[in-house]
Every structure is written in structure tokens, then in C-alpha cells.
């Protein structure tokens, strides 16, 4: 009885475990740059006590939270501070998403509309008058450049160029490519297919893929996020039934679908979660088990600085990617001090957040300047936009670096494919 009382007395998001130690406040990137944000302790467990009594205590300033989860990583008592804040926003916020928020959040819809017009849309989005319109009317900051839309979606490329040859492999994975690979940067998807094929895995797309919903949650559209999440889970269940693990190349999509669906959106993901992984983690585990081998080009040389994206850090999976990169003999590896780059998905695109976003990332940009790498490696696509825009240093996903350094012919031989 006594043991039961103790073990079952757990509050939602562990909020009663907060000792008021204030360690989380040290690591909040937002309160470090603005006094208008009440900080994770006040916005999270402290504020929650008041909100439980009366919803009037909800403070719209909580929208300044990046959902970076660095407070949770720092918390010595496993209080899910970031979750408490996100849940409060979903439950209490009366702020209605603007047209701008809907446009930024609906990555699928906007991507589908923009891709066919990419040759026109890309240059237009870069024009000063267009930026002025976006800045003035849409409140999208003029300093931002939209990531280019690809004129050919990854899915179209895949169906024509890759799909026909995938059945020749004896082992298979399904790929959740995400909006970024599909609409903006198909090259990452191509790199993924190249690496997986070289180690003997055929790649397949899910029957139906929707945006994971991270931007919808952040922009106050949880219902739509839930609808999309259910579509994703159902497609993944079908892939799992065929024996396919599901891989991604985005830390944030992975984090959202594994760790936010269940308790923030109420989507049951328990039968999918274990089969959903990041590509670098999947490859690392296979190499460890001795099931695959990689060979790299001897003349490959690159100075690579690794940036720990917030959600990668929260998942605790940074070492999978860094140890994969360190396997490449030609890489001069530098680990950057882990800190938020400030973009946080759509957050940094908003006019009202731009300055804060850049102030948050400044420490990281300074570090990168100092290290002076050939490229920065990170597992998150929005960090890529932010770091490239702010430092001019190219940013690559670890999978792209592996693909670039890979000696495909030798790798295929090592894996008994030729």
C-alpha cells in the first residue's frame, strides 16, 4: 500500500517533482536575451500551480518559448518543463493563429503550391519588394530568406529514379522524408537512398506522409496536427506490418512523432515508436552488430563542426551522429558547445521574433567563426537555414556527409552486394 502510494503519486509531466532549484533558468536561451519572457521555472511548474487554480493566470508571453527543451535536459529531477509550457499553451491560449502563422505552419500545403512554380517563386521570394511585402503585410522578417523550393519534389524524383530498383535488395526500410526533403532539399533524400542502397537496404516511401505537425503545434493548430499525426501513424503501421523499420533524416520530425504525439496531441504511438528511428542511429546500430560495413574515400578531407540541435539533445541521441561522423577517417571533427541556434522552426521567421532569434544564436555563430570549419554538421533542417544565413558556413546533415565521403563500390563489396 505504502509503496503504491509513493510510486503512483506522479503528477502530469512530473511537475510536482520540481524542487525549485532554479537550474533550468540557467539554460533557457530565451530568458537569457529578453526580460519579457518569464523563464522556464515561472512559465512551467511555478505558473502551473496558479493555472490549475484559475486559467486567468495563463500568460500569453509563454508563446515566446522556443520549445527547445533545454530546460528539461538540464533538470536534475526529470520535470518535463517544456511539456508543461506547451500543454498550457494548447489548453489556455486564446491567441488565434494569423494568416502568416497558418502559412508558416502548413509546410505541406505551401510546399505543394510553391514547388511547381519554384523557378518563379524562388527569385521572387528573394526580391526586396517581395520581402518588404512579406515583412509589412505578413510580418515575416525581411532579413529572412525562404529556403529555396525545389522544382522537382523528392517524391517525384524517387518514384521515377529510385523506386524501380529498390525491390532488388533483400532488406528494406521505409523513409519518412519530411517536408524539408520533399519541397526544399531533395538532395538529402537522395543521399539517404545512396547510403542505404550501398549497405544493401532498399528504400520505400510510406503509403501516405503528412508533415509531422511540429510547426502546427508551435503555431497553435493542435487539431490539425493531430489529424496529420494519425495519418502518419497509420501509414507507419502498414510499413511495420511489412517488416520495415521507419527511418528519418530530421531530428525534429523524429522527436515530434516519437515523443510529442502521445502526451501533447493524444495520438497513440506506442506500437510505432520503437520502429521509428533516425538514420544515423539505425546505421550505427547495424555497424555495431557487424551487420553492415562502410568504406570511405581515402582522399576525403573535411573539417566538420557538429552542432547539437535542441531536439537531438533532448532525445539523447547526439552521440549516434557524432560517432558515425568520427568513423570517417578524413574528418577533422570539432564538437561545438551545445546551445540553441535561435531559429526554432518557424519562430525565427516571424518579424516579432527576428532580433531575439539572432541574439539567442549569437554564441553559436561566434563559436563557428572561431572554429572556422569547412562545414557544420547538424541533424536539423531549420538549424541549417539559421546557421547558413548567420555565418555563411555551409551546413550538412550527417547523412549527406557520409554519402559524400562514401566509397560506394568498396562498400557494396564489403556488404556482399556485387
Amino acid at each position: 500500500m505504502t509503496t503504491q502510494t509513493q510510486t503512483q503519486n506522479v503528477s502530469v509531466n512530473n511537475f510536482e517533482q520540481c524542487l525549485k532549484c532554479s537550474i533550468c533558468t540557467v539554460y533557457c536561451p530565451v530568458s537569457a536575451v529578453t526580460p519579457l519572457y518569464p523563464g522556464p521555472k515561472q512559465a512551467g511548474p511555478d505558473g502551473e500551480r496558479y493555472r490549475l487554480k484559475n486559467k486567468e493566470f495563463f500568460d500569453e508571453a509563454l508563446k515566446m518559448c522556443l520549445n527547445c527543451k533545454r530546460c528539461e535536459v538540464a533538470c536534475p529531477n526529470d520535470v518535463h518543463i517544456g511539456d508543461i509550457i506547451q500543454a498550457a499553451r494548447i489548453k489556455y491560449s486564446t491567441h488565434k493563429p494569423s494568416l502568416r502563422d497558418m502559412m508558416l505552419a502548413n509546410t505541406d500545403f505551401v510546399g505543394t503550391m510553391a514547388s511547381p512554380f519554384a523557378p518563379i517563386a524562388n527569385p521572387i521570394l528573394k526580391l526586396k519588394p517581395m520581402k518588404a511585402v512579406l515583412h509589412g503585410v505578413m510580418k515575416i522578417d525581411k532579413h529572412r530568406t525562404f529556403p529555396d523550393y525545389s522544382s522537382r519534389k523528392f517524391e517525384s524524383w524517387f518514384k521515377k529514379e529510385a523506386a524501380p530498383t529498390q525491390d532488388q535488395y533483400s532488406k528494406h526500410v521505409s523513409y519518412f522524408h519530411g517536408c524539408y526533403v520533399n519541397y526544399n532539399y531533395p538532395q538529402l533524400g537522395k543521399d539517404f537512398v545512396k547510403v542505404m542502397n550501398a549497405v544493401g537496404y532498399g528504400v520505400h516511401l510510406l503509403e501516405k506522409e503528412k508533415c509531422c505537425g511540429v510547426a502546427l503545434i508551435a503555431n497553435g493548430m493542435p487539431k490539425q496536427a493531430k489529424r496529420q499525426g494519425k495519418v502518419n501513424m497509420n501509414s507507419m503501421r502498414k510499413a511495420i506490418a511489412q517488416g520495415h523499420p521507419i527511418l528519418t533524416t530530421s531530428s525534429t520530425c523524429t522527436f515530434t512523432m516519437r515523443d510529442e504525439y502521445d502526451h501533447l496531441l493524444g495520438i497513440d504511438n506506442h506500437d510505432v515508436r520503437d520502429s521509428l528511428s533516425l538514420a544515423t542511429r539505425f546505421l550505427f546500430q547495424l555497424i555495431e552488430k557487424g551487420e553492415i560495413k562502410l568504406a570511405f574515400n581515402e582522399d576525403y578531407h573535411k573539417r566538420v563542426a557538429y552542432h547539437s540541435a535542441c531536439h537531438m539533445e533532448r532525445m539523447g541521441w547526439v552521440p549516434y551522429s557524432t560517432r558515425m561522423l568520427r568513423m570517417i577517417p578524413g574528418i577533422d571533427f570539432v564538437m561545438l558547445e551545445s546551445q540553441c541556434c535561435g531559429i526554432s522552426g518557424t519562430y525565427g521567421f516571424k518579424k516579432e521574433n527576428y532580433e531575439r532569434s539572432q541574439a539567442i544564436g549569437k554564441g553559436l555563430f561566434d563559436q563557428i567563426d572561431e572554429v572556422n570549419p569547412d562545414c557544420v554538421a547538424t541533424d536539423c533542417e531549420t538549424c541549417k537555414w539559421q546557421v547558413e544565413m548567420s555565418t555563411g558556413v555551409p551546413v550538412m546533415n550527417p547523412i549527406s556527409i557520409i554519402a559524400e565521403a562514401l566509397d560506394v563500390e568498396t562498400t557494396r563489396k564489403l556488404n556482399n552486394l556485387d
Binding site: 509503496t3 532554479s22 530568458s31 518569464p38 535536459v73 536534475p76 542511429r281 555495431e288 539533445e313
Partner: protein
């Protein structure tokens, strides 16, 4: 995932061991479930401040000889040499300290008391003799609306020792702005505001304005320099009178700085840091630990030749008490509960020495953990998780953390 050594716990003890092993060329991984209690420490490290009778100690090495045989120091081969190694390790991480193991000096507590200590970070306010205050007149200068420096206690404590104290306050427009969110007027946020040289110079001007003449010492809250000590040193140099810092209530800037610099050093040496993760299971083969599983890595087992358990005491969840037992949650190794009945774990009077503070994991003479009474031949314990000492009573917390970690490193490298 395979490493030479895996350390469980990312506080002072774990990082000390991690740095020493990485310096010796080992492939080291460190698993840390959240940030450590270094965030509550005030920029000083204690070796032994009190003996078992409760008397203050001036010569720690001599007093260590008198400790009872259960104390973790009794498992060290050479306390004096390990203490020297610890000081140098801190220095290489960018943490310059004053003091040494042969004689304690005295730190000023945030509520105006004096406590014996071993090493103090550069710039912290200390005195050599407790009965002979070196200052006749002191200016205690706080930042307006900064609540984590209890100036009244501090002033009263110093006046009791015969020092004349004037309490002054200063501010800057930038600090007034920070005050917009009253809960966030914290030491580390102040440190992040006073980042550039201009503001440091302006703050120094303000301090010089209120403490212009006639002071032997200007005491300031330690709220500068989260990532390194340069900014805090710079401010002291710009103040006309001699100036030093007093520790504040948590989060403590010098404590966070120490944590940050140690972690940076570990990273720079190529160490792998698993942040915000927790060891949930050990995989044993007889008396050998083969690997550990963590909450976040799920099916990936972390394997190593040797393991160090440095997860701290109750406050860091290295030890857990339920209604009936005290246990070690990560690996389930043997815990010494002193054979006490549940009702006698704690004393009602909080100022008394609490029996539970001496609980901890059992180890053999080489600091191997025990599992069901038998030593695990590649699993060591270090730091506050060890049984046999009360760090609040003896003021020996940092010393036990660092020195037992270094001894374990020596035992592994043998």
C-alpha cells in the same frame, strides 16, 4: 556502443574522473541525468572543514588522520598528492584557485558566516584567519532589486566580527530592464546582461561612485562570468578599492562556471557526453559489469572495460529512499543504510547531524562497488554516493568528490 570507461554522473566527481581519464588518452563516455549540484556551490571547494567532534579544522591533512575508518579518505593512497593533482586539473580546465591542502583559509558564506575551505576560485572573498578580520571598513555593494544576496545577514555577520559595514546599491539601465520580469532577476541572467566591456566599465563606475573612499574592501555579489572568469576579473580590476565577490543564493554563477569549464575541458579532450539521460539497468556477468542501458538509448547497450558510479547522494537521485528502504536506482548495488530503523534515519532538529547523510553505497578498499556482498571487479564508486561521511557536518564534499574520483582513476590505470 563501446568505450574504455563509462562514468555515470556528470557532476564534480564524474567530470574529474572523466577529465583525468581522457587526459590519459582513454575513450570516455559520461552519462548525466540533468545538471549537477555544482550549480548550488559558491565558488569554493572544501577538503575537510570540521573534525568529527565538530571543531573547525585549520590543518586538513592532519585532521584527516583522525577520521574514523569508514570515511572515504581512508581509501586514498595519498591525500596530499591527490589534492595537488586536483588543483592542477582544475587549472588546466581554466579554473584558477587560491589555497592548498596544507592549511585551510576561510570563505564568507552568503549569510555572513566564515567557514574553513580548501580552494577558492579567483576573485572570491576569503580571509586567512577567522579571528582577525583583515578589513576595518567594508562596502557591501548590491545590485538594486537583486534578491539573492541577503545583505542584512551578510552585514550583520561581518559587524559581529568587528567590521564596519556600509550597504550600498547600484544599477544600470540594462539591469532595470531585466527587472521587468521580477522572477528572472537572477544571478545568471544578470551575468548574461553584463557581458560586454562597456557595461562592465559602466558598472565599475557606479560601484566606484558609491564606494569612493575609505574602504579596505568592496564586496560584490558573484554575478559575473558564466562561461569564463575573465569578465568577473575585469570588473574587480576597474574598481578603485580592493574588491572581491561573495557567493549568492543559487543559481551560483561561480558554480555554473566551474561546471561549464569542466564540461568544456572534457569535450575538448574528445569525451562523449550523454546529456539528460539516465542509466536504468546494469548488465552483469558474474562479478563483472558488461554494460549499462539508459532511458533514451533504449536498445543500445553502453559497454566498457570499466565503469564509475558517481551519481551523487539523495539530492542528485544517486540514492533514493522509499518508505522502507534506501537503494541505488541505476545499477542496484549494495547500499549501507547503517542498519537503522526507518524512524531513526533523520533527526527532527534539522541543524543536528542527520544520520541519513552517512548512508551510501558500500565499496571495498579499492572503491569497487559491491553487489550482493561481492565486489564487482570493474565497477567503482566515487564522490558523494559513497557511504561513511556527512559532508554537511565535516565540510568535506568537494574533497571527497574529487579525490575519490582521482583515486578510482589511479586504480583503473594500474
Amino acid at each position: 556502443m563501446k568505450f574504455d570507461i563509462i562514468i555515470i554522473g556528470g557532476g564534480l566527481s564524474g567530470l574529474t574522473a572523466g577529465i583525468a581519464l581522457a587526459e590519459a588518452g582513454k575513450d570516455v563516455a559520461l552519462v548525466s541525468a540533468g545538471q549537477s549540484t555544482l550549480h548550488f556551490t559558491g565558488g569554493t571547494l572544501d577538503l575537510l572543514g570540521c573534525d568529527e567532534q565538530g571543531n573547525y579544522v585549520q590543518k586538513p591533512l592532519e585532521a584527516i588522520e583522525t577520521l574514523n575508518s569508514k570515511h572515504p579518505y581512508k581509501k586514498l593512497e595519498n591525500v596530499s598528492s591527490l589534492a595537488g593533482v586536483a588543483k592542477k586539473l582544475l587549472e588546466r580546465a581554466g579554473i584558477a584557485t587560491t589555497g592548498n591542502e596544507t592549511s585551510n583559509h576561510w570563505r564568507i558564506t552568503p549569510i555572513g558566516g566564515l567557514m574553513p575551505t580548501w580552494l577558492s576560485m579567483e576573485g572570491m572573498s576569503t580571509v586567512e584567519e577567522p579571528n582577525q578580520m583583515p578589513w576595518r571598513k567594508v562596502a557591501l555593494v548590491n545590485i538594486i532589486n537583486y534578491l539573492d544576496l541577503p545583505t542584512k545577514f551578510l552585514a550583520a555577520g561581518l559587524r559581529e566580527k568587528g567590521v564596519e559595514v556600509d550597504v550600498k546599491t547600484v544599477t544600470l539601465p540594462e539591469l532595470k530592464e531585466l527587472r521587468q520580469s521580477p522572477t528572472e532577476m537572477r544571478s545568471t541572467n544578470i551575468a548574461k546582461v553584463i557581458e560586454n566591456n562597456d557595461l562592465i566599465a559602466k558598472l565599475a563606475d557606479e560601484v566606484n561612485g558609491v564606494a569612493s573612499e575609505g574602504y579596505d574592501m568592496v564586496l560584490l555579489p558573484a554575478v559575473l562570468g558564466v562561461t569564463n572568469g575573465d569578465k568577473s576579473q575585469q570588473l574587480l580590476k576597474l574598481i578603485n578599492a580592493p574588491a572581491t565577490y561573495v557567493a549568492t543564493l543559487p543559481p551560483s554563477v561561480p558554480g555554473v562556471r566551474m561546471q561549464t569549464l569542466l564540461r568544456k575541458r572534457f569535450n575538448a579532450l574528445g569525451g562523449t557526453f550523454f546529456t539528460g539521460d539516465q542509466v536504468v539497468e546494469g548488465i552483469f556477468d558474474g562479478n563483472t559489469l558488461k554494460g549499462v542501458k539508459t532511458a533514451k538509448l533504449e536498445d543500445t547497450v553502453l559497454e566498457a572495460d570499466n565503469f564509475i558510479l558517481a551519481t551523487g547522494s539523495f539530492v542528485s537521485r544517486g540514492l533514493v529512499a522509499d518508505y522502507n528502504h534506501v537503494y541505488e536506482p541505476a545499477l542496484g548495488v549494495d547500499v549501507d543504510d547503517l542498519g537503522l530503523d526507518r524512524k531513526t534515519w533523520a533527526k527532527i532538529d534539522v541543524t543536528e547531524a542527520q544520520p541519513y547523510m552517512e548512508m551510501g553505497v558500500k565499496t571495498d578498499s579499492e572503491l569497487h562497488c559491491l553487489c550482493n556482498g561481492a565486489a564487482v571487479n570493474n565497477l567503482y564508486a566515487a564522490g558523494s554516493i559513497l557511504n561513511g561521511h556527512n559532508s554537511i557536518k565535516l565540510l568535506d564534499g568537494a574533497g571527497v568528490d574529487m579525490l575519490t574520483a582521482l583515486q578510482v582513476v589511479n586504480n583503473i590505470m594500474k
